[in-house]
Symmetry: D2
C-alpha cells in the first residue's frame, strides 16, 4: 500500500499526465459490457407504424424527387436507441418509394443492400447491368460495390423495404461510394438472367463451378417463396419462429451475403411461439396479417405494413392474433456474428413465455401509432 | 556396370528369391499409366440399346421376382472394358423394374445410389423412413448406409436407372450391407418430407443449420428440372454440353453425394457441341430425343431409352440429329476426383471437332442394336 | 416539380413530423463514406513513445494494484481520432504490468485478447486452467470467454502488450463479462500443455481431429519465432513488409482467432519498403530496433518500446534507419474483414514511395515524445 | 409365379442373351461386401522383414542401376492378398536405394509420393526445382505431377521408404507420367526453400495467403519430429496408438496430401494399446525399437527395419516388447475416405484386447523371416 493510493490528487495528476500523451487508465473504464455473465439488450426495440410510413412516404413523394433532390427517396427508420440512427446498430431498415416514370440514378457503395417489395408492380432495378423486375414479396439483392439504379414504368407508386449493412460498414470505417457517370447504368444482361441460371431448384449451371461469397441469384420471387412456406408448414416448424426459412446462396448453401441474412416466416393463426434470445439483431417487416411480439416483457402489436427491430440479447416471442397467416420478412446480422464465432442463441429458461409488463407505447412513449 | 547385369539368369534368380518373400522389383512393372503426358482412355465406351433393355427387362419380369428370387430385378449394363462388369470403373448404370404390387425388400449398403425414373408412375421408394413417389424424369437419392425398399401400386411396370458407386466402393474394399429385419421398412416420415423442406427454391428451414455431406433433399422432381432447362436455355450454354445443370446439395451448393454427381443436359435441335476430355467417367441415359456422340473418333448413335458410358480421358462431343430437344441424364465420379484434387478437363486443342473414323458397331462389334 | 420543393418551411415541417415518429430522411445524410471511389483514412495514425509508456506504467505501479484497485494495471493507448479511446476502431493496443508477487484475478469476457511480452520473465497467465509461462517476444492467446488471470513470481516488473477486440465487440453491442468466483482460477492442465501438443512443427495429435475457430495452441514462443524470421529471410520477402509472418491456427492454417490477427515482421538494415494501403487497421509494437514509417505523407519515427497504429486505407511504408534488425509485432482486424468479404489491398500506384510532408509531431501536435 | 422361374434352362438362355449384349443380371452377383453389417478385413495383413529387405536391396544394388536399367531401384512390398501387388489396395510401401554418385532421373506422374528416410545421409531429391536434403527420420513429399529426381553424394547407400498412391490411381484409371527431358531437373530454388518458409512453427509467410491442397512444406525433418514426440508424451496419448501425430499441411491443418496421410507414433516401453478397427488401410515402417501387433488375432512381431500393412476393418493393437521406445512411421488412405465421407472407426467392443490365435508365420506361411 503506497502513500499515493489514497491520494485522489495524485491520481488526478496521473490521469492528466497520461491524457496529455493520448493514454488512459483502463481501470477508470467499465470493461466491455455488464459485470454479469447474463447479457442484456443494449438498446430498446424499434417500432414503426405502416400507416405513418405510408403517410410520410407519400408526402416525401410531393417534396423530393430522386436525382435532382435526393439520390434516393428513402425514409430512414431510426431506432431512438441506436446512435447511428438506424433500425439496429448494424442494419438499416428503410422504406423507399419510386413514382411512375422516375429514375433513381445508378451508384455503388461498400454497403450491401437488399430490397423486399412492399407494394406496386412495374419497377425495375438494374444491378451490375442485370435488370431485375420487382413485384410484391420479392427479395432482390444488391451485393456491395455493385452499381444499381432504379426505374419505374408502373402506373402507381412502388414501395420497398431497403435494408443495408451501412451501420456496420460505418463502424468498420471503410465505406466509400461512387456515382455512375450517367444517370442509369444500361442493361448489359437480359432481364431475369440470374433467375434463369439459379431459379429452378437445386441445380447449378454446369460451367459455373466456383462458390461466390455473394449469391449470384439476385431475385428470390414471391411466387416461389409463398408456396415454399406452405409446403414447409406441412412438415415441421420452429418453436421460436413457427414456419421459417433463411434465403440461401445457391453456391454455398449459406447466407445470401456475408453481412446481411434474410429470412421469411409465416406465423399461422393461433400460433404463439416460445421465447428465445440471440446475439444477433433483426429488422422485421410485417408483410401480411397482424399479431404481436413480446420483447423483454413489452408487447409490440403489429399489422401488415409495420416494421419493428430487435437489439441483441432481448428475449422475444411472436403471436398471430388474427384469422389469417401473418408473414414476417426480416434481415439479420447473424451471418456477421457466425463468421466471427460470436453467434449465440438461448431458449428462454422458464416456461418459454414471458409476462407482459407494458405495451410499446407505455414503455417507450408516444412515437407509436395507434 | 556389374557382371550380373547382363546375366538374365542372375536376374531371374533374384526375382524368384524376392517373390518368395512377397516382394517384387518395380523396374519389372510398367509405371502408373502410359509413358506419355498425353492421357488416353483406359477402356472403350459402353453402349446399350434401349430396345434391348426393354426386351430383357420385360423377360426378367417373367423370370424373377424381387424378394423370393432376387433382392432386386436389375439388369447390369456391363461395359466389356471394365473388369468389375459395370458401366464405368466407378459407377453402375443399371436398369431396375418393379411390377404392380411388387415389393423390393428394404436393405442398406455402403454404396450410395441414385435412381432416375424412366417409365411408369405409382411406385414409391422408402428411404430411411421417408416415402418418395417416383415419376418419369425424377431423380431420387439413396445416400450410403440408408435403408431403402421399393413398392409399386402402379398399374404397369415402373423402370428406372439405378446408378451406384459400387465399383468404387469395391475398389476401396470397405463395403458391407444389411438386410432390413422385415420386408419393407415402414414409413416414419410423411411422403414428400424432404421436398417440403428444401424443394421450394434457395430457402433453408431456419432450424436446419448444419451442412451435410449428403443432400437432405431426396427427390429432384422433373416438374422442376424441365422448366429449369428451358429457363437456362434463354441465358447461356456450354460449348461442350449445351444447356446443362449439375444437381446440387442445398446445404453446400456442391454435389448431391460425395461419390456420385448427377447432371442433366438438353441438347437443342441443330446443336453439335465441341469436344473435350476429363479425368472423370460418365454414365449417360438418353431420356428424350435422338442424336449421336463422337468418342475418340467413334460415332455412337443414340435415342430415347439408350445408355452409353465414357471412360476417363476420352475425347467426346455430342450432337442432336432430330427436330426435338434431346435430354441426357448422367452420373459421374467427378466429385470423387475433385475431392482428391485429381479432376482435370481439357478442351480439344484443334478445331474442337473430331473426325469420325468408325461407328460403335464397326469398332467394338455386334453387341450394338441396329 | 411541386410547389413545396422550394419551400424550406415545408421541408422543415416534414422533418419535424417524421422525427417525432423516429424516422429520418436519407437524403439529409451523407451516404456511407466519401463521395469518391478513392478511399481515405477515416482517422489519424496513433503514436506512443516507449519512454512515456515506461514512465507511466512505473508510476501506475505505485498508484494502483491489480485486485484491490483495478482489475488490471493497464494503460490504454488512446488514438485521439478513435471515439472509443483505443489504438484503432476495432483493436485495443494496451500495456499491462504485473509486479513481483501480484495476482491479476481471473475473469472472462466476450472479447478475445492476445499478449505480446515486452519485458520480464517469471510471470504466468492461466488460460482456461492452463498455466502459460511468458517470456519476452512470446505471443499468448486468450480466446473470447476463456477465464484468465495472471500471477508473477518474477523478481522484477513484467510488461506486455495487451491487444483485444473490445472496440469491435462494443460496436457489435454484444459484450458481457464474468468474474471468477475466487481470485485466481487454479491450474487444471500442466504448464506447456498446448505447446506440447502443437508446438513441434506441422504435426497434429492424432486424436484431435476437429478444426477449431480459435487456435488450440496458446503460446507462440519467441524461441521459435526469432529463428523462423531468420530462416524466412533467406528465401523471400514482401516488398511492403520485408520479412513477415502471420501467426496461424494449426487446425486451419488461418488466423489464430476470428477477430484478431497477429503478425511479426523483421525489417532488415537498409530496407525501405514500398507503400500500400488496405481496408484493415493495425496496431504495431516495436520490439527491437529503430526506424520510421511514412503514413499518408507523415513520418513517424519509432524505436524499441514504441507503439503506433494505422487506420484503414492509409498509405504506409516502413524503413529501418539503424544497423540492426528492427522487429515489429502487430495485431490486425484483417481476419474480420476477410470473413466478411471486405478485405482489400492496393499497392501504391506511383513509384511506390511517398513524399514526406511532415513529422508526426508537426502534423498531430505535441503529444509525441522527442 | 411363372412357369419359367423353375426352369434353369430358361434362366441360362436369358443369361446368354443378355451377356451377348454386354448386360448381366444383378441377382447373380454378390452385392457389395458381406451380407452382414459387421465388416471384415478384405485381405490379410502384410509383413516384410527388414533383414530380408536389406539383403535384397543390397543385391539389387549389384544387379541394376537407376537410369540405364531401371527408372528407380525399388523393391515393391507386395501383400499376397492385394491383386495390384502392393502393401495395401491403395498404397505402395516400397523401399528404394541410391548408391554414392548415382542419379535417379527426373520424371513425374499422377501419383503422389512420400519418402521416409531409413538410412544414410547425403542424398538429395529435387522436387519441382527445390533440392531437399534427406536424413534418417525425415519425411519428404512429392505431390502428384511434380517432377522429381534423386542424386546421392553420400559415401554409402541411402535407403528410404517410398509410399505412393499408385494402386488408388490405378483403380481410378487416370494415371499418366512424363520423363524429364534431361537426366535430372536442375535446382531452381535454394535447398531448404519450403522449410525456410513453413518450418518454423505455426507461422505463414504473410504474402502466401492461399490454402493449397498439397502441403507447400516438402520436408518434415526428424530433428523436429523426434522432440515433438517427446513433448507430446508429457501430455496425452491415444489408447489405440500411444503417442501419435499426423503430419499436417500448414495451409489447411489437414493431411499433407489429398490421397496419402502420414503419421508417426511412439509406443513407449511397457505400453500395450487397445484394439480398434477403421475403414482405412495403413502401411507401417518400424523406424526404431521392437514389439508386436495383434491383427485379427494374429501376432506380428516386428523390429527396426521391418514393414507391415493393415487392410481395412482388421482389429489391431500394438505393443512395445523392448526397453526402448518403438517408433512407427505409417502412411494411410484415411484422407481419401474422409474426403468421400467413408471414414469410420470402431473401438474394440470387449475388453479392448484380442486373443492371440497364431503367429503371422503360422497363419500366413513361411514368407516371414525368423
Amino acid at each position: 500500500m503506497t502513500e499515493s493510493r489514497d491520494s485522489s490528487e495524485a491520481m488526478e495528476a496521473f490521469y492528466r499526465q497520461i491524457g496529455a500523451k493520448s493514454m488512459d487508465a483502463l481501470w477508470r473504464r467499465a470493461m466491455g459490457g455488464p459485470r454479469s455473465p447474463d447479457p442484456v439488450a443494449p438498446y430498446q426495440p424499434g417500432y414503426w407504424s405502416g400507416k405513418d410510413i405510408a403517410t410520410f412516404i407519400q408526402r416525401a413523394g410531393e417534396l423530393v424527387q430522386p436525382g435532382p433532390d435526393a439520390q434516393r427517396r428513402v425514409l430512414v427508420l431510426a431506432n431512438p436507441g441506436v446512435p447511428f440512427g438506424s433500425a439496429t446498430h448494424t442494419l438499416f431498415g428503410n422504406v423507399q418509394m419510386v413514382l411512375p416514370g422516375e429514375v433513381a440514378p445508378s451508384h455503388r457503395h461498400t454497403s450491401s443492400a437488399i430490397r423486399f417489395i412492399m407494394q406496386g408492380e412495374g419497377a425495375v432495378t438494374i444491378v451490375d447491368g442485370e435488370p431485375v423486375e420487382m413485384n410484391p414479396g420479392d427479395l432482390v439483392l444488391t451485393p456491395g460495390w455493385s452499381f444499381h439504379g432504379h426505374v419505374s414504368n408502373s402506373d402507381g407508386p412502388v414501395l420497398w423495404m431497403d435494408s443495408l449493412d451501412s451501420p456496420l460498414i460505418a463502424s468498420l470505417r471503410i465505406g466509400r461510394s461512387e456515382q455512375y457517370p450517367d444517370d442509369l447504368q444500361p442493361a448489359t444482361r437480359p432481364s431475369g438472367d440470374s433467375l434463369n441460371r439459379y431459379g429452378g431448384g437445386h441445380l447449378r449451371p454446369k460451367w459455373q463451378r466456383e462458390a461466390s461469397r455473394f449469391s449470384p441469384q439476385l431475385l428470390y420471387p414471391w411466387s416461389q417463396t409463398e408456396p415454399a412456406l406452405h409446403q414447409l408448414a406441412r412438415t415441421e416448424a420452429s418453436p421460436f419462429d413457427d414456419v421459417a426459412f433463411e434465403y440461401t446462396n445457391p453456391t454455398t448453401g449459406g447466407p445470401v451475403m456475408p453481412t446481411v441474412g434474410c429470412e421469411i416466416q409465416m406465423i399461422r393463426p393461433g400460433v404463439h411461439t416460445r421465447a428465445h434470445r440471440h446475439s444477433s439483431s433483426v429488422v422485421y417487416h410485417v408483410f401480411r396479417g397482424h399479431g404481436f411480439s413480446i420483447v423483454d416483457g413489452v408487447r409490440i402489436d403489429w399489422e401488415a405494413g409495420d416494421f419493428f427491430s430487435l437489439a441483441p440479447w432481448c428475449w422475444h416471442e411472436h403471436a398471430n392474433s388474427g384469422d389469417a397467416e401473418a408473414i414476417l420478412f426480416s434481415t439479420t446480422d447473424a451471418p456477421v456474428l457466425e463468421a466471427l464465432a460470436l453467434l449465440e442463441e438461448h431458449p428462454h429458461p422458464g416456461s418459454g413465455y414471458q409476462q407482459i409488463n407494458a405495451t410499446y407505447a407505455e414503455r417507450y412513449g408516444g412515437t407509436v401509432a395507434a
